[in-house]
């Protein structure tokens, strides 16, 4: 097929306006249309419905309801769990990432851990909760952890299971980005290992670490399945409360309550993810 006879989506050199060329961005319409329908529109519905009451009139009642003590409790619960599991995951994950990074780049261990991390980071939800149930739950094979059903510590142990691999996946490139020349240069200038980490390695890794921490935080905020399978009697967190309010029969009166909660979550996660993006950019500049 000759180059000149392109399909309609090709742009041609202007021919004095005789034939309007079809703009090439049209080719992206299917994708953007799809995303608009199944991502942007539902989000918009959530945002707008949060400001509407059950009969559809504009109201701020949903938003103000977010201020009441009970709702605050849910947000605090979410916050506590997310922060703790993020810290645990970040610190432990960083250690593991360092262990993986300091080995043979082509080695078996590295590939094993990376594949495992890829799968385990997705392995959340019900299956994970079951696994820990049989391990340290009431009929636990290993032992019965009395704190298993405690919030947030019991559930944090379960969260660690997918937070740590996620940390490895996200943080490993940063550790890889530490150039060996920096270590050698600081050594030849007289730095001990402690000096190196304190003045060079640490500061360079800090943005990436904080960014990863934020990502883990957002990840934990959004989790629902694991919580539900772990213990569905009492809602501790916002996602659980959203479910409760949506599934209760009286629910119709509460519909915009769920929307308001969801809106609150979106705002929170959006703030966290922005912070993550900014930190990533700084980290990438130094460690590319």
């Amino acid at each position: 097929m000759a180059v000149a006879a392109t399909t309609a989506t090709g742009a041609r050199p202007a021919r004095a306006g005789r034939r309007p060329s079809v703009p090439s961005w049209l080719g992206t319409v299917p994708f953007f249309g799809y995303v608009a329908v199944f991502l942007l529109w539902p989000t918009a519905i959530v945002v707008f419905d949060a400001f509407k009451n059950p009969v559809g009139k504009f109201t701020l009642a949903g938003i103000t309801a977010l201020g009441n003590a009970q709702v605050r409790g849910f947000f605090i619960g979410s916050f506590k769990l997310s922060l703790i599991s993020a810290l645990v995951g970040a610190v432990l994950g960083a250690i593991l990432a360092y262990a993986v990074a300091s080995g043979n780049p082509q080695g078996v261990i590295r590939r094993l851990y990376l594949s495992a991390s890829g799968v385990i980071a997705q392995f959340g939800g019900v299956t994970l909760a079951f696994a820990f149930l049989v391990l340290i739950g009431p009929a636990g094979l290993l032992f019965h952890a009395s704190w298993y059903y405690s919030f947030p510590w019991g559930i944090t142990v379960i969260y660690a299971y997918f937070q740590i691999p996620l940390m490895v996946l996200v943080f490993l490139p940063a550790i890889d980005g530490l150039k060996v020349q920096w270590r050698e240069a600081s050594e030849s200038l007289g730095a001990s290992a402690w000096h190196y980490w304190r003045y060079v390695g640490g500061p360079l890794l800090l943005p990436a670490f904080l960014g990863a921490l934020l990502l883990l935080f957002a990840n934990a905020l959004s989790a629902f399945a694991t919580l539900q399978a772990w213990e569905d009697a009492v809602p501790y967190t916002v996602p659980q409360q959203i479910y409760t309010s949506m599934s209760s029969e009286v629910g119709l009166a509460n519909i915009n309550y769920a929307d308001a909660l969801a809106l609150g979550m979106v705002v929170l996660v959006a703030i966290v993810m922005t912070g993550y993006a900014l930190l990533q950019r700084r980290a990438a500049r130094w460690l590319r």
């Binding site: 020349q181 050698e184 050594e187 030849s188 200038l189 007289g190 003045y199 130094w286």
Partner: protein
């Protein structure tokens, strides 16, 4: 350039490497290397990749362990000392500046480690930056300055701690050709001004010849020759050196009464006690001159130009002599008169030449045998 009194405050030291050996598994990187650097001299280690020059430098720096041998600096044995205690300044090939620190902070880093006060640190850092001509960039970050400037900062950083020895690991290899030449001269100037004993590793023979007091040509973990640049060039100790440094023509000849006859030309020898007989002589292209040859007669020194390679100020002309080809190096204006296809007559300038008596040119007889 401001005189900063760097050299005056410290006396240069002698560096002695004795019997240095290093292997990686089955590969011998260094084989009982002996090398002494005189105080204040710049020795360039030259050789192809894998010859051991970088290994030598890294062993001296303490970044790698020695398997055998000793390293003595200023009379003190430092073989067992870790890199951070060796008091050496090192400039790497690339990427060694800390990206999160400004130029000033980079240069002052070594001083900070030595707990020098902030004011004194800053003063010294600026001094060093002025030495390399970059004081205007003191508050920039590494990614904001060019590659050549980065290397100058790296040099300033290495010198800031007043080390006893300066180590440069192919510092110019990652730079553009133009920048390379300028920086090369600048490094040499600074080294002389500071008067510091320096080891410079490179694979570029032009660099080595241009700046070194002595050049050490290495191959497979050993030094083939360690001598001033002119000697390495005109009196190479082995054929490897002769091949690696500059170009040579290999021409058969015959040694008689202390001279060698090559294609009818009689040339003096570099070494005088070469046994008589058939040899292979190494003739430098710049010793070959060409003239246009109009007559019909042929001879051992008559041939046809096959190719002319333009190198800027000079050109290299390849001449087919019938039974062999020979390279000649002429000024470009002379070479332009002899395009491809012209018939030319050669003369070989009677510079002393090196000869080898074996037909495989790996070993050369240089005076008495080791």
């Amino acid at each position: 350039m401001t005189s900063t009194g760097n050299g005056a405050s410290r006396t240069a030291v002698e560096v002695r490497l004795e019997g240095l050996s290093r292997r990686y598994g089955p590969v011998v990187a260094l084989d009982h290397l002996d090398l002494t650097l005189q105080p204040g001299e710049l020795v360039a280690l030259l050789g192809p990749s894998g010859c051991g020059k970088t290994t030598t430098l890294r062993l001296l720096a303490g970044l790698e362990d020695t398997d055998a041998g000793s390293i003595t600096v200023g009379g003190r044995d430092i073989t067992r000392l870790p890199a951070s205690k060796r008091d050496m300044g090192m400039v790497f090939q690339a990427y060694s500046l800390f990206p999160h620190m400004t130029v000033r902070q980079n240069v002052a880093f070594g001083l900070r480690l030595r707990r020098v006060g902030a004011a004194a640190r800053d003063k010294r850092a600026i001094e060093m930056l002025e030495l390399v001509g970059l004081s205007a960039q003191a508050d920039r970050y590494p990614h904001q300055i060019s590659g050549g400037q980065q290397q100058r900062v790296a040099l300033a950083r290495a010198l800031a701690i007043e080390p006893q020895v300066l180590l440069l690991d192919e510092p110019l290899s990652a730079l553009d050709a133009k920048v390379r030449a300028q920086l090369r001269d600048q490094i040499r100037r600074i080294q002389l001004e500071v008067g510091i004993t320096t080891l410079f590793v490179t694979h570029d023979q032009e660099e080595a010849l241009a700046i070194a007091d002595r050049v050490g040509v290495m191959r497979e973990g050993r030094l083939d020759q360690l001598a001033p640049p002119t000697e390495v060039y005109s009196r190479p100790a082995t054929s490897f050196v002769a091949e690696f440094v500059g170009l040579s023509n290999r021409l058969p000849g015959e040694v008689r009464s202390g001279e060698v006859t090559v294609r009818g030309c009689t040339l003096p020898l570099v070494e005088h006690d070469v046994p008589e007989g058939q040899v292979v002589a190494l003739v430098r292209p710049e010793a070959v001159t060409l003239a246009s040859h109009t007559s019909e007669e042929s001879g051992p020194l008559v041939g046809t130009v096959i190719a002319v390679t333009f190198l800027g100020a000079t050109s290299r002309v390849t001449v087919d002599l019938g039974d062999t080809t020979i390279l000649a190096q002429l000024s470009t204006s002379d070479a332009s008169a002899l395009p491809a296809g012209s018939r030319v007559a050669l003369t070989i300038r009677p510079d002393p030449v090196l000869v080898s008596s074996s037909s495989t040119v790996d070993e050369l007889v240089v005076g008495e045998e080791e």
